[in-house]
């Protein structure tokens, strides 16, 4: 009986992974062909960026239960690092973008002691982190950060390369989260999320595990910021550290379902497409309608789309990452 169950499990796992990797393959082929087919690069870039942001947020929030309200701090740091390196220091974007990821990791390390806090206290302290960084960028010498006017990359803006860079980072983020579900670290994070004390009693290094999740999360968010700077070419302290970026990330991730691999992806895709649809059809009311849809979604599906599906139809768990 138990060997039958484990055989079933192994089969379900194979199906799950086949479906998941198949989906990633389709995504890569589809998105990869957009520039070639002269599709709307900005729309698909935006989709990739938000899927990556939601996925990276899922690493810290979904796997560990920590909600960083100041998540935009890493995004903003990545934006400024890439922009300063390209436009002021005159470094190639192929060096500036990875450097932007590193900058996010360094900031995350600097603020790692805040992981000792829990719940709302951590959430608020992380929010203050974003505000502090925004003020630093505004107050720093204008020769470096452009002051309140920000920076403009002008002719360094290379959309197509930025587009493919975003695709690479998206795939890397999805691969990382997939790996987490199967890895010891992922299992440790889930245990910590469910009961940190029990996890500690079982020999899991709670602080180190949380730190790894925090750093991974920061890495992808700051890469998103760096590539965004490369793609759009214009940034300033207000938009680079806009609290709405955190808000959208949280909403997209939760709409799909935190703690699952597919949830943030599905949530982001559905909401971005719905947003695109109503924006075109309702030029004046689109923001109101989008807010209404999100409110209803959270009200009736508090676990997110995937989370609710798995709760109502437990057999789905076998097929969904």
């Amino acid at each position: 009986m138990s060997s039958l169950t484990s055989m079933d499990e192994a089969k379900a796992s194979r199906i799950r992974h086949t479906l998941w990797f198949g989906l990633i393959g389709v995504v890569v082929l589809w998105f990869g062909s957009i520039p070639i087919l002269d599709g709307n690069q900005s729309l698909y870039f935006s989709l990739m960026l938000w899927v990556t942001m939601a996925t990276s947020f899922n690493i810290i929030a979904g796997f560990t239960g920590y909600m960083p309200f100041g998540f935009v701090a890493f995004y903003g740091m990545g934006t400024y690092t890439a922009a300063i390196l390209v436009s002021i220091v005159k470094v190639s974007p192929y060096i500036a973008i990875p450097a932007s990821g590193l900058a996010g990791v360094l900031i995350a390390l600097l603020f790692a002691p805040t992981l000792r806090l829990g719940g709302i206290y951590f959430a608020i302290v992380s929010l203050s982190l974003a505000v502090i960084l925004q003020r630093i960028m505004g107050l720093a010498p204008e020769d470096i950060t452009g002051g309140s006017g920000g920076l403009n990359l002008g002719q360094h803006t290379v959309r197509e390369q930025g587009f493919y860079a975003m695709l690479i980072v998206l795939v890397a983020a999805l691969a990382t989260v997939t790996w987490l579900t199967r890895s010891r670290l992922g299992k440790a994070l889930r245990a910590i999320r469910d009961d940190a004390q029990a996890a500690d009693a079982m020999g899991i290094n709670v602080q180190r595990s949380r730190l790894y999740a925090w750093l991974l999360s920061a890495l992808f968010a700051s890469l998103c910021g760096g590539i965004q700077a490369w793609f759009t070419g214009a940034l300033d302290p207000v938009t680079a550290f806009d609290v709405l970026i955190t808000a959208k990330t949280v909403i997209y991730a939760m709409a799909g379902g935190l703690g699952t691999v597919t949830g943030p992806v599905i949530g982001t895709v559905i909401l971005v497409w719905v947003d695109e649809l109503i924006w075109r059809q309702f030029p004046v009311l689109n923001s109101f309608l989008l807010g209404l849809i999100i409110a209803l979604l959270i009200l009736f599906m508090p676990r997110g789309i995937i989370g609710t599906l798995m709760q109502k139809y437990p057999r789905c768990r076998r097929l969904i990452m």
Partner: protein, 410 residues
Amino acid sequence: MKLMLNRLIGMTGALAVVAATLWIAHAEARAQDITIGMTVSSSGRFALAAQSGERGLKIWIDDVNRRGGVDVGGTKRKIKLVALDDRSDKTMVPRVYETLIKDEKVDILFGPFGSTLTGAAANTTENFSKFLVIWSASSDNIYEQGHKYVVSATQIAASRLGKPGADFMGSIDVKKLAIIYLDEPFPAGTAKGVKKRAEELGVEVVMFEKFSKGTKDFSVMIQKALATGAEVFYPASYEGDQMNIARQMRELDANFPITYMFYGSQPQFLDIGEDAKYLFSQTLLHEKVNWDVNAGLNRAQMVARYKEMFPDVAYAPDFQTALAYGAGAVLEEIIKKAGAIEPAKLKQAAIDLSGKLTVMTGPYEILPTGKQIQMEFVVMQNQKQGLEVVYPPSVATAKAIYPVPTYDKR
């Protein structure tokens, strides 16, 4: 049965022919229109100003179409506007402009409101080699990016926005100037421009301090400015902040010989009553500012058309309306000169027309980068009888009153 079938086939064929003819006719009609694309913020911090600008552009489009369209190489072509929402969100701007270019297939782009959004828009339109007409972005930075198809039709660069005020100070031999400014592109750019020009004219800038967005209490900064002995107090920010500062100055009984507030002549600002009295300000749109135009409607005609087209809008036309209308009038001349709508020809025509046009917002003059160096605002003062133009002398309607009466003597 066979007869009915034949009739059915015949009718279907006829309908198909009619439909195809109509579609071709419509497509041809569409092909004749020049489509202009722009983004307008329906929400967010730029909504009011963006919508004011959109109304200005619509006035121009209506006027052109009433005359049968723009002359493009001997053929009249009507203008069609496609406006999409950018939600005052810089990250949305590239997506919206790409949608306008690829999906809506617009011929020419108009910029969004403000430097913050226009910087992102210009990078996108330039990538697709599309002609972009800027009507409200003052940041000098935009014109330093090497863009080939960008022209500021009416909005003077930020570095020059403060010039009228500084020139006025120079003309009345001001010695000391205190500046405070909001740390955002437009007010910061204006403040720096005022400082630079004032210093060129021998005015000592005794205070130059920035404040962050969201500041509500300006009492310390006002007191500091007073302590410097400055003759002119120049708070550079948006309308809301300036109204707040005006009120707090009265509460503190902070009397400067001259107080200069950019938005001091706007209708909403004047509604604050006595606190707005004797302030110096600048504008492009006022009944006493009447340029001798050689393109488009003059000020009175534009205002009359605004009332006719927008009888239910709560807001009177302001300088954003004027800037956008003026940009449309300039664009019309550019298209006529170019005889085409290809971006390179339009840009060359824009440069060729520099120094030769005067629209309702003033004389048009650009650098090869597309930066607007004319369209200077005039200096106003809110005197007892109302707003008067006090500088430059060529268009002045009254002498400036300074030092202004102290609050206890008003």
